[in-house]
Amino acid sequence: MMGSLPPFLVFFAGALLVPLFRGPVRKVLLLLIPVVGALNMSGVSEGHALQYEFLGYLLTPVRADRLSLLFGYLFHLAAFIAVTYALHLKKEDGDTVQHVSALVYAGSALGAVFAGDFISLFVFWELLAISSVFLIWTRKTSASIRAGMRYLLVHVISGVTLLAGAMVRVHQTGDLSFNFVGLEGLSGWLIFLAVGVKAAFPLAHSWLIDAYPEGTATGTVFLSAFTTKVAVYALARGFPGTEVLVFIGAAMACFPIFYAVIENDLRRTLGYSMINQIGFMVCGVGVGSALAVNGAVAHAFNDVLFKGLLFMSVGAVMHMTGRTKASDLGGLYKTMPVTATLCIVGAMSISAVPLFNGFVSKSMIMSALLEEGHLWIWPVMLFASAGVVEHAGIKIPYFAFFAHDSGIRTREPPWNMIAAMGIAAAGCVVIGVWPGVLYNLLPFPVDYSPYDVTHVLTQLQLLLFAIAAVAAFHLWKIYPAEIPSVNLDVDWVYRRLAPGVVQRLGGAVSALDSAFRAMVAETVRGVLRGAFQSHGPRGVLARSWPAGSMVLWVTIILAAFLVFQFF
């Protein structure tokens, strides 16, 4: 560690410098930040830690081991690709806000994966949310502003839950360090829930579907790389071998693919696809064996490349045409052939076609499921693998670049977008052809080869016949049409149901309040009327009584007392 700065500091310092420059100088600076960061991180070796005492607690803002270093390399690579993709931004795109928030966001992700204690983790956890929301808001549509608010709210709740779990843990054990947590006790469950929200567990997933498609074309590329991968890292660190994750992962891998088939917005389709891929990672962490955890984190690494590539290619379409809906697109391969080709590389990678990177990591998870005896989950995940081909492998490139001719005639996106997509595509192929490049970085020693007859043949059979089914359904004209629409998901609960319930409750409370107020007012009016009758100008008590009458009444009262005295 000696001689190296904490990895996040390079990005934070870069974020301070970037607003001071414009034009080519800023572009060079933006490209240099992840490069300098990577060089700085190469000096951080396994086992090193940076610790200091704060308010009586021993904090570890930097703790390096193979797991954190792998995510460190990944985030530097992701930042470099995404920054390259965002170089063309201009003042009217909110370039300074996007560049600065993206750098703080990338730095926060690095801070989170190197954090060795819960307080440091919490700080970076919240910074992730606060910095990334500007990548949504900068789109400046009313939908993006509202989606950004919901996104921020969900992530702040996740952070507060994490802090509550950490406080309970410190109170119970006195241990602040972020290592294996497990599901023992309240603190374990609170931390698990906090991580689960960020990992887009089922029922806590809709923030991703809601917010990511509302981000800017460049911002969503950053968003796709960091938040959910930090959550996968946190699960791999704190909950490896937690069996419930196997079932959660299987659910995550399966349910989004049904939505992805009928979703019209291609970036929202990729959002569902992202949950599906995280499902594989979560499942791998839940299995917990060395092969499974290696597979999970390797798949996280690969997902950043191929999902980033897919988001970039759809983002390039959005940048050039202003459209992301399948019903509006089609036929763009004629004018965007390079983008279409790179999109197909991403589609083949996410589909786990042999020689592409998805294959070398997903097959590790599938093999681990069989090795560890999860015989009922394995076919479920196999089905989910086939489902990926349908929505990400075919639907994205087909409806954007082929299908029916939309009539849109445009051109290729700026060079920097092509370059960024090219780097990601090269990464997909290099890791697919030479998996050792990635395997050597994994947390546990790897004794696994994806390239044998069984793996390659069975994967090809699964993929080709999945594609055949899609082709057949198209030919038979029963494939779901792309219809301009929205599909109700869990976010309906807080976007429609909850406001409706609150509105009705408010109406009922308001009616009750009005009735109560009317009753009180009527009572007060009655009292006033009575008082007026008795004490008003014509009231009995306000009358001027003659002295004789007074004497008469006094005599009667005294006589009454006298009578009572006798008895």
Binding site: T321, G330, F399, T410, L457, T458, A468, K477
Partner: protein, 101 residues
């Protein structure tokens, strides 16, 4: 964002793509599409036949069934598409559903 894609008169946004999008010209020439599909189905048949030629490892009882993976791949996607069509009836709303809320 640029959004400067000029539109040739082939179609309008907002129209359906897919099963009933026949009113719009296919972007791939029909003869080329037919040839690609024909070649693709031949490759599929070859890959399925390879199951009978190669001895593959079996770790799951279901894998013992011949052409297990092709059947799972095809039926899995068929089921996925049919169920998704049913799901659409349940969850699909107009594009401005949340706007007027």
């Amino acid at each position: 964002m640029k959004g400067d894609g000029a539109r040739a008169p082939a179609g309008d946004p907002g129209q359906k793509n897919g099963e009933d999008g026949g009113h719009r010209a296919n972007s791939v020439p029909p003869r080329a599409a037919k040839l690609i599909l024909r070649c693709f189905f031949i490759v599929c048949a070859g890959v399925a036949a390879a199951d009978l030629l190669f001895q593959r490892d079996r770790h799951h009882p279901w894998e013992a069934a011949p052409i297990f993976y092709p059947v799972l791949g095809f039926l899995g996607i068929a089921g996925l598409i049919l169920i998704s069509k049913g799901l659409r009836r349940l969850v699909m709303r107009s594009e401005d559903y949340y706007d007027d809320g």
